[in-house]
């Protein structure tokens, strides 16, 4: 049945996330961007609300909310509307938690999840990106080689959120030398593992500046089979990557909506040649297109997310959503600057920050998980 109807629970969560984003994120976004800092209080508050960690089952001290990629996408859109950087930081631990909930064995859940069910923010993240320009998630350079009942990891990871403070990393690697998402393995690596080096100097990026990002290198890091996510049955690499791509795309929707909602009142108030620029088709048509694209982006994200929830192979829907949302997010952020003219380029207003965030966000495979 074709339906765009959210459940009552989803509407409530959406409303909560919206209020949190407008109340807590919008105002401090610029400050955080300028100083590359995120108040710990904010992360704790978001954590307490369960935005990133609601899926930790009650048995392990969590909220035990039913896993739903649609619900996560709603949260990501609302937070992304408030500030994509802060949203990425708040949601980053989901890239560790969601895969553990989805693919972890009972033993693994029991061992690792309780630490993430507490009410204080716990830094954690997946280590996915690598330091080469042709990075492709289906063919990573970081490898996992089986030796007896352990795995040996080698390679380098970049842009690992909260790398400086995380207790555990979920390192994604290519297993058995074969390309393709079916051969992606995920390994739980404690930060004190022998052979793992975390660079102390954080990695700096154009956008999503305040999210702390680290460079990791792995030299013959030995991971016992017990810490290979899913153990013998492994993980569904497609599903894992799809959850990242869908959540990233949902952030894009929120960011784009923020640009439009700032552009509409500005275009009505800014007068040029005797009337508001919104009365010129050149501007009005841009606003129309921004609106239509945001709608389309959102429905593409919902479709992919609902396929994830229905346990089907969401790869095609995810790729279409990711492609569409990424491209249009950047275009919309760019149009926002153009509507604001010089003011769009000045750091007093958020337009230039949104553009930088959009660009960084859309070149990442995933910094958040649905």
């Amino acid at each position: 049945m074709i339906s765009f109807e959210l459940t009552k629970e989803q509407m409530l969560i959406q409303k909560t996330a919206k209020e949190f984003a407008s109340g807590e994120l919008k105002e401090i976004a610029r400050d955080c961007d300028e100083h590359d800092e995120i108040p710990e209080k904010l992360l704790d508050k978001a954590w307490e609300m369960g935005l990133a960690n609601a899926a930790v089952p009650e048995a392990y001290g969590g909220i035990g909310m039913q896993r739903s990629a649609v619900t996560s996408a709603l949260i990501c859109e609302e937070l992304g509307y408030g500030c994509a950087s802060l949203a990425a930081a708040i949601m980053a631990p989901s890239t560790f938690i969601q895969p553990l909930v989805d693919f972890g064995t009972e033993q693994q859940k029991k061992r690792y999840l309780p630490a993430y069910g507490q009410d204080k923010f716990v830094p954690a993240a997946a280590a996915l990106h690598e330091p080469h320009f042709t990075f492709d998630v289906t063919d990573m350079h970081t490898t996992a080689r089986q030796e007896g009942d352990a795995w040996v990891l080698n390679g380098a990871k970049r842009l690992v959120a909260f790398g400086q403070t995380a207790r555990h990393f979920l390192v994604l690697a290519k297993c058995g030398g074969q390309a393709g998402l079916a051969h992606v393995g995920a390994f739980i690596v404690p930060r004190d593992a022998t052979g793992l080096t975390v660079e102390s100097v954080p990695e700096k990026t154009m956008g999503l500046k305040p999210v702390p990002k680290a460079k990791l290198s792995l030299a013959n890091v030995v991971v016992p089979e017990a810490d290979r996510l899913g153990e013998a049955r492994g993980i569904d690499g497609r599903r894992l990557i799809n959850t990242l791509r869908v959540a990233n795309s949902a952030l894009c929707v929120g960011l784009a909506k923020a640009v439009l909602d700032a552009s509409v009142p500005y275009a009505k108030q800014r007068v040029a040649f005797g009337e508001p620029i919104a009365k010129r088709q050149a501007i009005a048509f841009k606003l129309s297109e921004m609106h239509s694209e945001i709608e389309a982006m959102r429905w593409l994200v919902w479709k992919a997310a609902s396929q994830l929830d229905q346990d089907g192979d969401a790869t095609r829907a995810t790729t279409l959503a990711h492609h569409y949302a990424s491209r249009n997010c950047v275009l919309i952020a760019d149009n926002g600057i153009q509507i604001f003219g010089g003011h769009g380029y000045i750091r007093d207003l958020p337009l230039e920050m949104w553009m930088r965030n959009a660009r960084t966000l859309t070149v990442l495979e995933g910094i958040v998980a649905a």
Binding site: I2, F4, K279, A284, E289, Q307, L320
Partner: protein, 388 residues
Amino acid sequence: MVDFTFNAKEQEIIKEIRREGLVLRKYARYYDEHEEELPPDEFPEAKEFAHIDKMAADRGPDATGPTAFYMCMLMHRTWGDMMRMKVPVTALGNASVTAAGTDEQKQRWARTRLSMANTEPGCGSDSKAIETTAELDGDEWVLNGEKIFVTTGIRAEGSVVWATIDKSAGRGGIKAFVVMKGTPGFELVKKEKKMGIRSSDTAAFVLKNCRVPMENLLGMDPTVKKGGGGFKGLMKTFNLTRPGVAAMGIGNIMACQEFVAEEMAKEGVQVDYEVGQHRRTAVQQKMIELEAELEAATLCTLRAAWLADKGKPNNLEASVSKQKGGDISRRGAQLALEILGAMGSSQDYLVEKWFRDARITDIYEGTGEIQRLVIARELLNYTSRDLT
């Protein structure tokens, strides 16, 4: 719960529509090349197929809303061809009767195929600028003017002609009149020749002192309205049809996209949805773009229809769907030909015809520019006077 799947019965219906569509494709080239001929009201193969509308009336539990499913059926029907296995009894003019007619009028013309004569040589989207006049003479209306681009104008038994009873009143003076074929002074000038959708007959008429009885005035109200009485009825007609037109354009591009995917696969080019863009060729990237754009337009159309099913206002969403439907009809068809290269334009295949057929989508039922105006006015809370 958010859901984008169809239940078993619905999937069955879609399958049946597409089976029918494949038969229509066998005739598609013929009627494209013989524009002067009208395809039959019913093709001989019609009896080989289930009665789809009857099937659609009962779709079981967890069925998609009727408007949303209607849009989906339109997409798949047009995937086959613009032609229909059985031409429906009603046409666009009947939608005007539904929107603006009295109950008696609705009953009277329920099974009379009526085209809609709105566009004139000097006006299209700006329908308040129409110059065809209607003057009351005793208990008859006397119509004078020219009407062009009248869809189903040849096939229909009559036409809903939009005319002004008071030019100085602007929109408020615009009224609709049912004019039956054979009425003296209602003359067919020609059948238009078009780039595409050639199986759809398009007529030009002239009205020379054409007299129709009082009761042929839709709504039966001969007074001039402030704020555009009859005009609102006309606009309501378009409210009902924008997502539908989008759906037809989408169906066309669905056909293009599937043709591209199948033919390219035969020659070893397939899209790998897993890999990042570095691992795709430019052609594969275009194939992804085509699919994503198609999906975007489809979902926007379903969304507008879903709102209608929920009884919620959808003026904005109807325009979004039409805008996106218009965009994909142009861009999607262009992408398909870019991907296919020289053989794409060969008339050995239907894809070049779909390219020509699809191009109308961004023009009729309000151009893409008009849709953008409607959307912008809603966003900005502007009237049509604030933003033109």
